[in-house]
Symmetry: C2
Subunit: 236 residues, 2 copies
DNA sequence: ACGAGTTATAAGGTTAACCTTATAATAAAT
DNA sequence: ATTTATTATAAGGTTAACCTTATAACTCGT
């Protein structure tokens, strides 16, 4: 993770986007990529070709795109830079949790290895970003804390938020405004199967969220559901 | 100094360069500009035209370029961002003094007002960069500590280094390797008028520097030249 | 006041990263 | 198996920021 692998800011954005979209399927359709980056499919295809020529990825026609080992290294490098900047912005500069993502997007492209590693030391080698996602190590490893999607829970189940994912500013702001952030306790109150609305108790407050939002939250079950109030005190 | 005035990284570099070259003459020839930015005169001229159309500067044919009020504001904004990043890199990340300039050049373009001001607070509202140059205030003021060029001194004169200027990585590294940095005491030992070499005592070490390098150092005279050793202890 | 040297402009080229519109190839679903 | 929807490619355009080479305009020193 020492020398920069991608040429240009743009390629870095592509690598990061592919990495994020990879979680559902390792083969990422160019259309999803274009969609996420807010550019046309034609432009994305062009860029994919350029990146294929640089051995950053493979392209299976009509199927999608998959990172090569070199591409994966580059992607993790950028994600490391990104998440370290997020930690800095939140922990040191006390900037709001929700805006740190977009601000880090600017900074991540302007940071070489020397600065990133000095930052990591300065921040105390953090392992997770403020949104709960793991920070890749310099040797290219990224391990998620085991958890399950909030949408798999049933009413009355009790959990702690591990992370929000994928990270986009709009979603982060929205969830933050409902108190949804890593470390917070959530209890499923009821699920309306008809219009897909979830009523949740988030850190003691009752909130209603759509299934789409609920599906972005990864949690860890709290096995001991004796008295809600008691458990809450333990964990918040 | 809130909203960004310049379009693109490149324009920001031009503004900064003009501001630095302005110190000798308020009318900066395009050729000097091109020289400093390491680009062709034709390209610099093109860019100057674009920036003139954006009212960032005026161009007096065959004379040079002068910043408008808007351009000046933009330039000071970038210089503020740049010098705050330098302080961060040196003070917090403990990166070497000489490399901080180039690293800050990357970061300065990736930082909006919110981050810069949060940084300033975090750093304790510093007034000078690690090379001794003043950090502009958010309202667009920049005041130099009064000083004189080291090249105006005579043998046996005694001074403290205030700043190095203009900042370029090569010059900073070179001067740093000879112990020349703000706060250090310098005594002029002898000046060879023939090949323009200056023999100096820099922080107790005898060093030889060219006139070109000496001219980049701004100092403050030490009025009390009783016993060199004594004075040194007071000031280092 | 003229010629050397500087400065500006004109003309045409390059690259990266985007765009639109139109057509062709393939996958998936009836 | 054929239609529909997705995906890819072809063709041509745009913008910012650079480049070179050539020519024109101007300044300044003698």
């Amino acid at each position: 993770m020492s020398e920069r692998v991608a040429t240009g800011e743009s390629a870095e954005m592509y690598l990061k986007a592919i990495c994020e979209l990879m979680t559902t399927d390792p083969l990422v359709p160019i259309s999803s990529l274009a969609d996420r980056l807010g550019i046309s499919v034609v432009s994305a295809t062009e860029m994919v070709h350029r990146m294929r020529d640089q051995d950053l990825l493979e392209h299976k026609r009509y199927k999608g795109v998959r990172l090569t080992e070199e591409g994966r290294r580059g992607a993790l490098d950028i994600i490391r830079r990104h998440r370290l900047w997020e930690r800095f912005l939140v922990d040191k500069l006390k900037l709001p949790w929700e805006v740190s993502h977009d601000l880090a997007c600017q900074l991540e492209h302007a940071t070489g290895a020397e600065v990133v590693e000095a930052m990591a030391t300065f921040l105390g080698e953090p392992t997770h970003c403020p949104h709960g996602n793991p920070i890749p190590t310099p040797d290219g490893t990224m391990t998620f804390r085991p958890g399950l999607s909030l949408e798999t829970l049933k009413p009355d189940e009790n959990c702690i938020v591990l992370r929000i994912r994928p990270e986009t500013n709009a979603a982060l702001s929205y969830l933050a405004s409902h108190g949804m952030m890593p470390g917070v306790q959530v209890i499923v109150k009821s699920i309306n199967a008809f219009d897909h609305l979830w009523t949740l108790e988030i850190g003691g407050q009752e909130e209603i969220l759509s299934k789409a939002m609920v599906s972005r939250v990864v949690v860890q079950l709290v096995d001991d559901p004796t008295e809600d109030q008691e458990v809450e005190k333990e964990h918040v």
